[in-house]
């Protein structure tokens, strides 16, 4: 049963450029869902529609069965963590966190209790008298999170919250966010362009491209079974070959025959495979084979990576360091049917 | 972000308040009758012609240009080195010296005119023109210190050090490296100082004498004794010059240069 639903959302900027095209998304209660995609794909816009900063041209946003499309931001009761944190510089940590509670006209005792409690959870108890500009990036991030959580929001929205932190802190904070999110059981939307961050934190991932969701699935499935060429490329696949369905097999334009384990609708698809899954073909392999010339060789420690030029274009192949192929030599690549993934072009 | 209608209506009201009176002046300047009426009954440009026939306008206009130009140039000559020294040196009491340079802003203009008239003109027998120039220097100097100072604050002084290391002497480095990089600040300071000197009245009230009288003071005098569309016509001409100048500033420095 979906808790949060976006149905057929259209958003245009300045009446011209369409940023979201009939976007659909369903999120279950307590889930952490990431919106992943390159800049300009519409992920932040989607988040802003949910937050209420943007009113979609058409479509419905509902939460827990209630249509909230036209409800103004301040009546939605969602917690938002901004990319810039957007802490109020004129207020102390305590007052920043208490802000939302004061707007709800809670009495002083209640405010104090709730603020102290959330500061404790976020590990900020000793900083309550500090001002934002006196704190480090990671601490500010926590304040922003505490401020968003203390109002006991129906939804937590995080807009690239980790992008301003250095690499090490980012890993700590994403575990922290996950821990707090699970502890409070709060349904969360997380916007990011970093796939590693996204995979590590999310229950489900929506990969977005040009205003639509290309694939909505668990991180594992997206990593192992990308459905479209865009998703495959975005999560790091680099080897692609065009295939045409002919009976039970697929053929390249040059006529090489490929078989795969999973079937795909459509006659024209693309095959993709990770560099470490490509093998060197033996004598007996007569299909799923591509021959090519070895180009640039790069030493990566445990392995060599080769650029192999084939009739289907450049392929990256990773082989153990013990196996060495010279530049310029001809090799036959074997793409095992269990590893070759078909995606929509 | 969703636009707020109430705020938009409010802003439209405020901008209307700012602009309508000037539009009314512009329309009345083209009236035919010798009394100012709005709306005008018939169209004429005779008041524009009349502006150029009033001798005191012509003379005082030139005086104002001369005073504003001289005061601004002197303020730049004195103010740029001072701003540079304040930005660059480790002098003790920099803050104090800077506030001394900005202190003319806290002395009311009429008081500056009054004490200069008493001290320079009456006691020391300095010509009125020099007194007027001194007064307008006080109007222009703070603009130079503030605007050039803020553009020096943004200047990366390591480029000056780079010039030294490349064999450029300190004085040459100032002219070859520092000055070219703060020209927009200097131009903005020039415009602001010049305009504010040209428009200033209080400083000039006391500092006038035979043949020495500024244009705005003359204009004010004229209004107190005459009420005809000549002043409207003068206003339109001055506003036209202002618009022209703002367009030039916008194309070269950006309009925000005048918001300092």
């Amino acid at each position: 049963m979906a808790y949060m639903t976006l149905k057929d959302i259209d958003v245009r900027y300045d009446k011209k450029k369409q940023v979201l095209k009939g976007l659909d998304l369903e999120v279950k209660e307590g889930e952490l869902v990431s919106l992943l995609g390159p800049s300009g794909c519409g992920k932040t816009t989607t988040l802003r529609v949910v937050a209420g900063f943007i009113e979609p041209e058409s479509g419905v946003f509902s939460l827990d069965g209630e249509d909230l499309t036209k409800v103004p931001v301040h009546k939605r009761n969602f917690g938002i963590v901004f990319q810039s944190y957007a802490l109020f510089p004129h207020l102390s940590v305590y007052d920043n966190v208490a802000f939302g509670l004061k707007m709800r006209k809670l009495d002083k005792g209640q405010i104090e209790q709730k603020v102290k409690n959330i500061l404790e959870i976020c590990g900020l108890s000793e900083f309550e008298k500090r001002f934002p500009q006196q704190m480090s990036g990671g601490q500010r991030q926590r304040v922003a999170l505490a401020r968003a959580l203390v109002i006991e929001p129906k939804l937590l929205l995080l807009d690239e919250p980790l992008s301003n932190l250095d690499a090490k802190l980012r890993i700590n904070m994403r575990m922290e966010i996950k821990r707090i999110q699970k502890k409070l059981g709060i349904t969360t939307l997380f916007v990011t362009h970093d796939q590693e961050e996204c995979f590590s934190i999310s229950d489900k991932v929506a990969v977005m491209n040009q205003g639509v969701i290309e694939q909505f699935d668990t991180p594992e499935n997206i990593y192992q079974r990308p459905k479209t060429e865009f998703v495959a490329r975005f999560i790091g696949f680099e080897n692609f070959l065009s295939l045409k369905k002919e009976g039970n097999v697929y053929k390249t334009e040059a006529g090489a025959v490929f078989t795969v384990e999973t079937v795909k609708d459509g006659d024209f698809v693309a095959g993709t495979i990770r560099p470490e899954d490509i093998r060197i073909a033996g004598e007996k392999e007569d299909h799923n084979v591509l021959s090519g010339t070895v180009g640039v060789r790069t030493f990566l420690g445990k392995s060599y990576q080769y650029e192999v030029l084939t009739a289907e274009g450049k392929f990256l192949v990773s082989r153990p360091a013990e196996e060495v192929y010279e530049e310029g030599s001809t090799i036959r690549l074997y793409l095992p049917e269990s590893k070759l993934i078909l995606v929509n072009k | 972000m969703r636009k707020n209608k109430m705020l938009t209506v409010f802003a439209v009201f405020v901008f209307g308040f700012l602009i309508l009176p000037l539009i009314i002046i512009t329309i009345t300047a083209f009236g035919k009758g010798s009394a100012i009426t709005f709306p005008i009954e018939s169209f004429s440009v005779k008041w524009f012609v009349k502006v150029f026939t009033i001798k005191s306008f012509r003379i005082s206009f030139l005086t104002s240009l001369e005073i504003a130009m001289l005061a601004t140039v002197i303020a730049l000559l004195v103010g740029i080195p001072a701003a540079y020294a304040l930005a660059r040196s480790g002098l003790k009491g920099k803050g104090l010296i800077k506030s001394v340079f900005l202190s003319p802003t806290i002395v009311p203009g009429i008081v500056i005119g009054f004490v200069l008239y008493q001290f320079l003109v009456l006691s020391l027998r300095v010509p009125v023109f020099i007194g007027l120039l001194a007064g307008h220097f006080m109007v222009t100097l703070p603009y130079v210190i503030r605007v050039v100072g803020s553009s020096l604050e943004q200047f990366d002084f390591s480029t000056e050090e780079a010039a030294w290391s490349l064999g450029c002497g300190k004085i040459r480095a100032f002219f070859k490296v520092v000055l070219p990089n703060i020209t927009s600040g200097i131009s903005a300071a020039f415009m602001l100082a010049f305009i504010n000197s040209f428009n200033n009245i209080p400083v000039s009230m006391f500092l006038s004498g035979p043949g020495v009288s500024t244009f705005p003071a003359n204009l004010m005098n004229y209004i107190e004794y005459n009420y005809d569309p000549t002043v409207s016509a003068v206003s339109v001409l001055l506003m036209a010059v202002t618009v022209l100048m703002m367009v030039i500033v916008d194309k070269t420095l950006g309009i925000a240069a005048l918001a300092k």
């Binding site: 301040h74 917690g79 990319q83 207020l91 | 707020n4 002046i25 806290i106 203009g109 004490v115």
Partner: protein, 277 residues
Amino acid sequence: MKKRSAFVMIIPGLVILAVCLFLPLLRVLIPSLHTGEYPLSAYVTFFQDEYYRKIFVRTVKVACLTTGFCMVLGVPTAYFISRCSKKWRGILLSVSIFPMMTNSVIRSFAWINILGSNGLINRLLITAGIVEKPLKLLYTDFAIIIGSVYLFLPLMIVTVAGVMENIGDDMMEAALSLGADRIRAFMKVIFPMSLPGIIVGGILVFTGTLTAYTTPQLLGGNKNMVLSTFIYQRAMTVGDWDGAAVISLIMIVVTLAVIKGFNSLAARLDKRGGDHA
């Protein structure tokens, strides 16, 4: 930089300031402290005189009201400008700067045309049959105030807009997301954040109005004098140079006090922002 060369650069300015400002100020204003039977007696006399006191009070009242109106009108307008697209921000900023670049005589003259007995407002009122005889709008305190607001509102708008431009949209959005409606978000977040700019604007408008000459002269006339027009009248018309010196020093002291007052107000409000409610 060597100290000596820094001195060489600063000295010319200091010398001109000393000779053409500080020395004249001291020479003209200090004696006013000692005129009369006892020290400061000229000042005591000034405030004992009902007519003088009235001028003083009028000046301060006009400055206070003008500052108040400029804040009420200017702060929301500045916020509006700061939230516009870049193109519109440039246009609206130009529209605000244009009056600032226009001579104050012209700007006051505009209001003579509007407020005069034959002016726009009276003609409208008479044509509409609301009044029979023209109302006396010109040469009143009201005229001085509206003229001063007109004179200084652009300065307030431009000053405050400059500060508000640096406040990101995310501040407003954060406040909204925490349950504040637009007006409360503005009052609780945007307003305190722009307070430094509003204080600077307040100082500029207050001291500007306090010391303005043209507008009170043209719109107030001889019956509604303020300190700056009064100085001129004392010195040039009556020949009371000592009196003019007294008024001059009073104006300087009030200006300094106002600047100090505004700044300490800013400091107080800032601290209050940090208190636990």
